[in-house]
């Protein structure tokens, strides 16, 4: 953050008064000015969302529907063939979108709820509360999170709910850090002081005065966190504690079939099977990152 003196920037000189626009207008202008990467990202994300929401309608077969033929080759009947149990890979991919994204989103939201609130609270009350929280966050961060997650999951059982809660808590530490950091820049603002002078309560100051002004960096962080959570879940599934079967999730789908990659030289479509869910994961994270990138660039007020 470069301090102060920007009040004398060229843009400032040009026109003191920013033209008034409705949200829709701004959105449209935003989209127009968006680079191809960002547009690509947004396209991908919305497609995923559609798939996630309308999975039952789009999937040719049921999520756990078992067909006699396991490892069926790619065909008109089974676009991407069937998996080891004879379940249609395409259908599982589609349902996977719903489960995996659903869980990742839920987790990230929870993480931000926890980390965000505590972060702002810590920033406002720079006293014992702040110290306590920051210290405990340090402690949590000092524990290898993947292994810790493994322990907690085998302690409480790897149900979707537990998965969400545990990862969310472990993840909220980073959210806490960033929220606190950005909030610190805001709490020193006169309008926060004004609100205090008015006698506003903590809740109001957090919600109305600070939150709206730290949204941009948080939104960006949300995107990145989402990706990390996504990959964490994949990693956990890889290590064997994932989402309850027969629920389809991409992480375990990759894991179940990863072994096939090495046979690329012998059977290419077989080798492609694990690529599909992995690619699905990668594509989404890339997309989100692209959008976040652009968003960050826009909100950081940096002009090329």
């Amino acid at each position: 953050m470069s301090a102060g003196e920007e009040s004398y920037s060229a843009a400032g000189e040009v026109s003191l008064i920013k033209a008034r626009r409705t949200f829709a207008e701004n959105l449209w202008r935003g989209l127009k000015s968006a680079p191809p990467t960002a547009l690509f990202g947004m396209a991908v994300i919305s497609t995923y969302m559609l798939f996630a929401i309308f999975a039952p309608l789009l999937a040719p077969y049921g999520e756990a529907e078992i067909f006699p033929m396991s490892y069926a080759p790619w065909s008109d009947e089974f676009m991407f063939g069937t998996d080891q149990l004879g379940r249609d890979v395409l259908s599982r991919l589609i349902y996977g979108a719903r489960n995996t994204i659903g869980i990742a989103v839920a987790t990230t939201f929870l993480a931000f709820l926890i980390g965000g609130c505590l972060g702002i609270a810590a920033a406002i009350s720079q006293n014992w509360l702040d110290h306590l929280l920051s210290r405990s966050v340090d402690v949590l961060m000092a524990i290898p999170s993947l292994i810790f997650a493994l322990m907690l999951l085998s302690m409480f059982g790897s149900s979707a709910t537990n998965l969400i809660i545990i990862i969310a808590i472990l993840d909220s530490t980073r959210v806490f850090r960033i929220t606190r950091a950005v909030s610190l820049n805001v709490v020193v603002m006169d309008y926060v002081e004004a609100a205090k002078l008015r006698g506003e309560g903590l809740g109001w100051i957090m919600r109305k005065e600070i939150l709206p002004n730290i949204m941009p960096p948080l939104v960006a962080e949300f995107g990145l966190r989402f990706c990390f959570v996504f990959l964490t879940i994949a990693a956990l599934s890889f290590l064997g504690v994932g989402i309850q079967p027969p629920t389809a999730d991409w992480g375990s789908m990759v894991r179940e079939t990863a072994g096939l990659i090495q046979f690329a030289e012998y059977d290419i479509t077989a080798a492609l099977t694990p690529m599909l869910p992995a690619a699905a994961i990668a594509l989404l994270t890339v997309a989100v990152n692209f959008v976040v990138d652009w968003f960050l660039h826009k909100t950081s007020g940096l002009k090329d």
């Binding site: 040009v14 026109s15 008064i17 920013k18 002078l197 006698g199 109305k208 005065e209």
Partner: protein, 546 residues
């Protein structure tokens, strides 16, 4: 010798013709400079003045063939000593910058790289351009430091920016500009960020060195009194166009355009003081400090008469803002007490009830930081109405409009965001926010210092009017004597955390003065071009030289 007949003017050094500069904002290109001509001779100092948004800096930078990010020089010609800067390549222009054309920025504090020593930065350009070898450049820089009357010039260069004061930094920056003995220096509001007393010293040293090396200069500022001391000729800009050009004295004595006259007349409001014995707020020998026991306030006592204005003057660090924080309860004093309407106020903010909070309101220096950028005018003014008076729906809207009218804004502003208003408008909204609480006392912390002079005038007269109509009491914190004259009945002079003197305006502003008050008052620049020369002579005679 004085600015008038400084060494005879040389040939033309810089000639800018029909310059047009676009600025990109809000996804559009706007014309910021709309065809301005500028001619500067060797050794000549040109004052470039105008309000913010007039395009002063942009034009000044353009004279180096430089456009800030988000700006572009679209047409016109810039001839610097025979070189066409419009055609010149980046590389060629780089060669000129820092060697033949130098720049002195507004905020020295921000314009020095925090992680390099001063001397390194002072000689960087000279050395990089291979004008003089490093050692030589450094010893020369030390000489310049001496010329600029910097304390212990030989080792001040080994310090880091954060280790020296703002006034010193500004001088080091001048030395930096000088180190390559440029033909032209651009001074971009070099003293705006400084206290008056410091400003005098810096101005003096700048003028002295510019004369000494017979350097041409463009001096950008919005302060007429300052420009009067520095410039041979003055150019007035407005909305990116030239209003008028003239030799300094003529410009001051009889400006042609009435815009210029309005600028001149800004400082003319004057309030006639009134006596009053009815004390609304009483601060009794208060001590206060932040954290590590450093006392910022020492036995401060101030009486504030009801329905009148007390101006608290002093330089930055004199503790005037701290006094305000004590009154509001943000900084509970370690000793002493605060009486409001005869009743002692709870010292800590959290111990005060809604009613007590309601009665004392605050207006801040910078409306930008005082208003939540995400809140519309409705939110900003509506909240106190709702919070203190419990107004809702129709009633709230009605009151809202009344307040807007009171501050001379119409209902079209109701749904605007801060970014959609000018500085003056924002400051007015802040005033309305304070009024909404229906307070008895308003603390105004440097409310005008961030604004252009014409806007200042508007705000000040608004405040005066409101006081007349509503009988509100003001505590007016400022460092600008003109403003003090304009608004106050009583004056409190503060210095290093203590009250130097308190009394009616007339007493304070007329001799005999205590030393500090005198220094303060004498340092306020006046329109007279000979003022600085005179002042310096006077001071040197009294051996109170800086």
């Amino acid at each position: 010798m004085n600015t008038k007949n400084r060494g005879e003017k040389g040939d033309i050094l810089l000639e800018m013709k029909d310059i047009v500069i676009d600025g990109y904002s809000d996804d559009r290109w706007h014309e910021i400079i709309k065809g301005v001509d500028l001619t500067l001779r060797r050794g000549e100092v040109m004052g470039l003045i105008g309000e913010s948004g007039a395009g002063k800096s942009t034009l000044g930078l353009a004279s180096m063939g430089f456009a800030r990010p988000g700006c572009r020089i679209t047409s016109g010609s810039i001839m610097f000593d025979g070189i066409d800067l419009m055609k010149a390549s980046e590389a060629e222009k780089r060669k000129l910058r820092g060697s033949r054309i130098a720049y002195v920025a507004q905020s020295a504090a921000a314009s020095f790289n925090p992680s390099h020593k001063l001397i390194e930065q002072a000689v960087e350009a000279t050395v990089r351009h291979g004008i003089t070898p490093e050692q030589e450049a450094k010893s020369d820089a030390k000489k310049l430091f001496a010329d600029l009357q910097l304390p212990n010039p030989d080792n001040i260069g080994d310090r880091y920016p954060h280790q020296v004061s703002g006034g010193q930094l500004q001088r080091v920056m001048t030395a930096m500009a000088m180190s390559s003995r440029p033909d032209l220096i651009i001074f971009d509001e070099p003293t705006t960020a400084l206290d008056v007393t410091t400003q005098v010293e810096v101005l003096a040293s700048m003028r002295q060195i510019v004369e000494q090396y017979h350097t041409a200069a463009i001096y950008i500022t919005h302060d007429l009194a300052v420009v009067a001391q520095m410039a041979d000729v003055i150019k007035v800009l407005r909305y990116g166009e030239t209003v008028e050009n003239a030799d300094t004295r003529t410009m001051l004595s009889n400006p042609e355009k009435e815009y210029t006259q309005s600028l001149w007349s800004v400082r003319s409001i004057e309030k006639d003081e009134e006596e009053s014995k009815d004390i609304i707020l009483k601060i009794e020998n208060v001590d206060a400090g932040y954290g590590g026991g450093i006392k910022v306030l020492d036995k401060v006592s101030i009486d504030v008469p009801r329905g009148h204005t007390v101006a608290v003057v002093g330089e930055s660090g004199s503790g005037k803002s701290t006094a305000a924080r004590v009154i509001t309860g943000l900084l509970p004093p370690s000793k002493g007490r605060v009486l409001f309407n005869g009743q002692p106020l709870p010292l800590a903010l959290k111990d005060r009830g809604i009613e007590q909070l309601k009665k004392i309101q605050m207006i801040y220096q910078s409306a930008d930081t005082a208003m939540n950028p995400r809140h519309t005018v409705r939110d900003v003014i509506g909240r106190p109405l709702e919070f203190y008076l419990g107004l809702k729906g129709k009633a709230l809207d009605k009151r809202l409009l009344e307040l807007l009218e009171l501050i001379e804004l119409d209902e079209t502003f109701v749904d605007r965001l801060p970014a959609e208003m000018s500085g003056g408008q924002k400051q007015r909204v802040c005033i309305a926010r304070a009024l909404a609480a229906e307070p008895e006392l308003i603390i105004c912390d440097e409310v005008t210092s961030a604004l252009d002079q014409i806007v200042q005038k508007g705000i000040l007269s608004l405040l005066l009017r409101l006081q007349k109509e509503l009988g509100i009491t003001y505590i007016f914190i400022t460092h600008d004597i003109a403003t003090v004259k304009a608004i106050s009945d009583q004056i409190v002079v503060m210095f290093q955390g203590g009250v130097v003197e308190q009394g009616m305006k007339s007493e304070i502003l007329s001799p005999p003065f205590p030393d500090y008050t005198k220094l303060l008052l004498s340092s306020v620049p006046e329109m007279d071009p000979d003022w600085l020369t005179g002042l310096l002579k006077e001071r040197s005679e009294e051996q109170t030289s800086v």
